[in-house]
Symmetry: C2
Subunit: 238 residues, 2 copies
């Protein structure tokens, strides 16, 4: 799913900066680039390192997975440049984020209005997250949850589902997707009322349907979920 | 931005079905495929045509722009299969949707929680759209508006901004992006208080920041917008 603009940017770069695993995922493009591998976490140090290299005149690829603009490094690059202005040129190359890959594998759940919410309260106060959860519940959005668990806290999903409970029918489809795009990829669909937060680890994306989302079993034995855009209504009116 | 999985699916197909312009955009991949070109609108006829071809044993590419799963044909395929079950195999290939391309060009506006709302009331009652607008306003999401205008109605954006008015500071950045990825591409950032719905046509994507989104002018004279994830707070705490 890596688009040619991304491959081209990786190829043109003199230096790659990124989390260890993400650089491994780009290894098929590697030529003479110097790699700077960072452990998970410490995002600010990683971004500052990339900016410093760029200020030295290097063509730096700050490698992310998914979409660099979505819960990834692009915002932090701009945040640091805003604090400490410089003259480096920045280009953000978009990519396929986990919620898109999960929805595509599981059918077409994001066929109508949706939102993405990170449940990590490391950088966002829980009160803000909770306000968003209430809004998303009341607005009847399809909701993709990023960072559904952290090492320190495990009750975020439980709280989120408690808030959604009054706003979604018990049979609302929920997608549980882990290790997307990797050999161990697993995507399954359960009913809202059957969802068990213990099935979810840090690397899992969870997506809850709107009140309109539907699940169906097909001839291959698999369950698929989709959110109709309203063509049924249009047919009724004709 | 077309990813290799998409190019591969186009290439493997025996038949292409799609809106005229989208098939033009795939012409670099074209070999011996039979094309079925449809005018804009009439989505259901187009999807039914693709399904009928697939039922005849053809390998059909139903060509969309952006992400086939986001306000595009994938949901309608599943909706029709749910009404009239069949045994065709469906694979959805995700892509870069307009809100991602717009955010990337304009900086990193979707660096924190966001939602997508279609303002078209052709298929969705305006009351439902309005409920989502209130929810997105109160939840302080970054909001991407699809279908900001239709031929018949021109006041959707005005109403949406009126709802947001009490929830966003006047200097909240708004991205106005048109003709993304085409030679006539235009992306600009204005302040919420300066936004003029008349600058927007049917092919434009409009994205409004959250209360945390910021705009900055850089050395190239251009304005960029981003939504911080909260690393500033982390720095304060250290």
């Amino acid at each position: 799913l890596r688009n040619p603009a991304c491959t081209q940017a990786l190829s043109a770069a003199t230096d790659w900066v990124g989390y260890d695993l993400y650089l491994d995922l780009a290894s098929d493009v590697k030529q003479a680039q110097t790699e700077y591998r960072f452990p998970l976490g410490g995002e600010e140090a990683r971004v500052r390192y990339a900016i410093e290299l760029a200020k030295q005149g290097k063509n730096v690829a700050l490698v992310c997975s998914g979409d660099a603009g979505i819960y990834a490094m692009a915002a932090l690059v701009y945040e640091i440049i805003d604090l400490e202005p410089n003259r480096i040129m920045v280009e953000v190359v978009p990519g396929i984020s986990a919620f898109q890959a999960a929805a595509a594998k599981a059918g077409a759940m994001i066929g109508h209005d949706f939102c993405c919410i990170s449940l990590s309260d490391l950088l966002t106060p829980w009160a803000v997250i909770e306000k968003r959860l209430h809004a998303a519940a009341e607005g009847d959005f399809v909701i993709a949850f990023y960072n559904p668990r952290s090492l320190k806290r495990r009750d975020q999903l439980e709280r989120a589902f408690a808030i959604l409970n009054n706003h979604r029918p018990p049979d609302t489809p929920v997608i549980i997707a882990s290790n997307l795009g990797r050999p161990t990829e697993a995507v399954k669909i359960v009913k809202f009322s059957d969802f068990n937060p213990d099935d979810v680890d840090m690397l899992t994306l969870v997506m809850v349907g709107s009140s309109q989302s539907r699940a169906m079993q097909r001839g291959d034995g698999k369950t698929y979920a989709y959110t109709p855009r309203g063509y049924a209504k249009k047919r009724e009116m004709q």
